[in-house]
Structures are given as structure tokens and as C-alpha cells.
Symmetry: C2
Subunit: 247 residues, 2 copies
């Protein structure tokens, strides 16, 4: 790929670091925030963790967990900081989804927000809800959030629905050891559909990423199911070509 020669058509001057720096400084600066949609799975329902808005204007509304990004903080770092602060948990699944930047989206001025979603195992978290303003909501009952958080939530929920079909995210919402029934309930809750039990099992056994740990459920009032773990290391090694055009 040859470089083009300098010509009179190259009418833009080469910029020195100084010029660039002053452009970056100037008035072109905008507040950046991160908002996290934190999903959990409890009592066979998909849940999302919300907080009461701390703004007078939205006092009766719920909102996502978020904060301004610090000037010396990576975006992902910022999202992890929020997760850690609010859930007490580390090493959570986290994925950036979309950046929301409509001019009027925030009453405090121009704030552009990078949306993430995260998946947590509610068992681990249960012990730690100290903050009375936090609340787990059924995803179905999430309506009319503060700011544009309803948009953000919807976008993240759709993303989760798509991703969970193509990647083994779901296991982050379950205990380490789970039964196939729990796994199926999870998929049904996320996707909002009923699945055939036999075909569901066949599918997962065929993928061959479940480890039979030779334990069974306890304290269930019926025949206990076998427990499994997800074989992450086998999953990592797989190489899947995926060419399948279909609209």
C-alpha cells in the first residue's frame, strides 16, 4: 500500500502534539458515565438489580447502577468498580453493549453513557444486600425507569437474549453445580419461551460441555436430578467455524 505523495490537495496541515492536545482540551469535553444492567436468576425468574434514583426529578423512579467515569479510569475498570461497590462481588461476567449519547438524555447536562450488562449468581450476592435502596426486580416488571434507562435496559436485555444462545453465559447466573432442570428454567426465563425437555437435554449432552460430577440434588420433594458443572476449559479449546447465512 504505497503512501501518497504530498500534494496541494493535502490541504490539511500535519498536526503537532501541541495542536492535538489543545483540541482535546478545549470546549469539546463531555461527561462520561457507565451504566450497568446487573442480571440475576432467582426463583426461576430473571431479575435485574435497580436502585432508587438519587435525583429529585426522578424521585419515584428506579434506575440502573451507574457513575461518572473518572478521568484516569478505563471504561471497563469503571464498570467493574460499580459492580464491586454495589454487589461486593469480583470477577463478574461483564460485557459492553452500547453507548447512549442523545443530547437531552440527562438533566444535569451533556452526559454520554456507556452501557454494560453483568451476570451474577444471586446465591453469592444475597448475603450482601446492605443498601436498602437496591432492589431485585423481575425483568417483566421493569417499566418506566429514570432517564433513558428503559432504553438501555431493553437494549441490554435483548443483547443477553441473543448472546446466551451463542455463548455459555448462562452458567454465570447459576450456582457452580446445577441440574439440567435449573439450566432449562434459566433459558426459558431469559428467552421467554417453553422448551421441550428431552430435546433440551439432548442438545446440551450433544454439545458435550457438561461435566457429570456424580452428585444429585438435595432437599427436593421429588426424585432428585443429577448435578453438572460447565466445562469451561473444554469450551475454550473448541474452534467453531460458523458460516450460516440466514435472515
Amino acid at each position: 500500500m504505497p503512501l501518497l505523495p504530498e500534494t496541494e490537495l493535502n490541504n490539511k496541515p500535519v498536526k503537532t502534539l501541541k495542536i492535538i492536545q489543545s483540541e482535546v482540551q478545549s470546549t469539546n469535553r463531555i461527561a462520561l458515565s457507565v451504566d450497568c444492567v446487573i442480571f440475576g436468576f432467582d426463583e426461576n425468574k430473571l431479575k435485574v438489580l435497580l436502585i432508587r434514583s438519587d435525583m429529585k426529578k426522578f424521585q419515584s423512579k428506579w434506575s440502573l447502577l451507574g457513575d461518572l467515569v473518572k478521568p484516569d479510569e478505563d471504561l471497563d475498570t469503571s464498570a467493574y468498580r460499580i459492580l464491586k461497590q454495589r454487589t461486593g462481588l469480583d470477577h463478574l461476567f461483564l460485557e459492553q453493549v452500547h453507548t447512549f449519547g442523545s443530547i437531552g438524555r440527562h438533566p444535569g447536562g451533556r452526559v454520554v453513557s456507556v452501557a454494560y450488562y453483568s451476570l451474577i449468581n444471586v446465591q453469592h450476592h444475597k448475603l450482601k444486600i446492605l443498601d436498602n435502596e437496591l432492589h431485585w426486580h423481575d425483568v417483566d416488571s421493569v417499566v418506566d425507569l429514570a432517564f433513558d434507562h428503559q432504553d438501555i435496559f431493553n437494549t441490554c436485555y435483548c443483547r443477553l437474549q441473543k448472546r446466551v444462545q451463542e455463548h455459555p453465559l448462562g452458567f454465570s447466573l447459576l450456582p457452580n453445580k446445577f441440574s439440567l432442570r435449573e439450566l432449562q428454567n434459566l433459558y426459558e426465563a431469559i428467552l421467554g419461551v417453553k422448551l421441550d425437555r428431552r430435546n433440551f437435554r439432548k442438545k446440551f449432552f450433544a454439545m458435550d460441555f457438561l461435566i457429570d460430577i456424580d452428585e444429585i440434588e438435595e432437599n427436593v420433594p421429588h426424585r432428585p436430578g443429577k448435578l453438572y458443572k460447565f466445562n469451561y476449559s473444554k469450551y475454550e479449546k473448541r474452534d467453531k467455524k460458523w458460516v450460516g447465512i440466514d435472515f
Copy 2:
């Protein structure tokens, strides 16, 4: 969804607009930019439009087309502005992909960049390359871009490869009327694979979104193929359930 009563655990004060505004003002502001990966399809190759870096530090490198987001400009608007400026074209396909915000990514200071990709019909654009610094590059030969643009490019290219299999994006890269051979060449170029000609046709005919416009190719040195248009309005009306768990 009952609101929680105020308690002493609600230790955060409700914030007035003033407080919020001052938080948004303060030092927490960051420069925001948009970078566009503009794809084209020409001579059976997938191309990307690059510009020579305007920074001294990266003088010998190519970079994506981008600009700072103006304080009163939506993100998408900003991306469209860049597209319009650089290609002269309106109403292009555009999709936001990811936001890149590593601390050290830009030498001019903290700049967070929202990445988009766009698809253009090179026929329309050809007449308008006035700017000698712009250049179409084969995607295969894109290496060592300025800043973190190689990352951004890779991410957008992967996104395109995925999306083009699930949505009818590809047609934005082709002339309005196209032959099945052109369509297949496009898919092969984007995905980097060879596809079986008969099965490819069968697939598209089965999807039933191609309109046979009863014209044939001209000026080809062999039996001319039939030309088709994509039936967008039929596509919009389709409702596809898509439940297919597969890692």
C-alpha cells in the same frame, strides 16, 4: 413494585439538579470522538476507506476517519457528519459497534472513541474522491494503523462478518441491481471462504427476498446472469423467532 421507605440506610442524600449539574461540570469531563470504519466492495474485494494520519507522531500510518463529538451533537449525528464530509453520501448504513476508552489510547490526552462501521456502494462514491489523502485499502492489507485503530478496525470487521450472516446488510455494498454471482462474491469476500454456488442460490431463493427484475447483465464476456433487487419491504414484515441454542 413497592418503593422502599426512607430509612437511615438510605444514607445518600437526594440530589438536587444543582448538585447533579456541578458533578457533571467539574473535572469529570473527557473528550469524546467518533471513528468510522467505512467498508466498500470493489473488484471482488472488500475495502476500507482510510486516511493518512494528520498527527506528526503517526505520520507514516493510516488511520480511520474520525472527529471529536461536538458538545451539542448526538453520537449518531456525529458519525453521519463524518460520513457525509468524507464520502459526500447521505443515508448510509451505519451501526455503532463499541466504545474504546483505554487511558493511553490517544497521545493528545484522554479521548474516548465510539466506533461505528458503515457500508457504501463504491459506484456512487467513485466520482467523489477529491481528497487525495483518502484511500481504499483491501481489508487483508490493513495492518499497523495509527492509535488503537487496528483494534477498532478488527472489532468492526468481525462485527460485519457476523451481522452480514444474520441481516441483509450486504446489499448496501452492492449496486441496486445485482447478479447472484456478485452477491456470492460479496459474501465470499466478507467471510473469507468459498461457498458452493448451487447451495448459495438455493439458500437465497428459499429465503425469498430477491426480486427478479427481468433484466440481465450487460457487457459481460460470457452468458449474462439475471439481475435482482433486494425486497426490503418484505424483509421488514417478516417475523422471525430465533431460538437456537448452540455454542
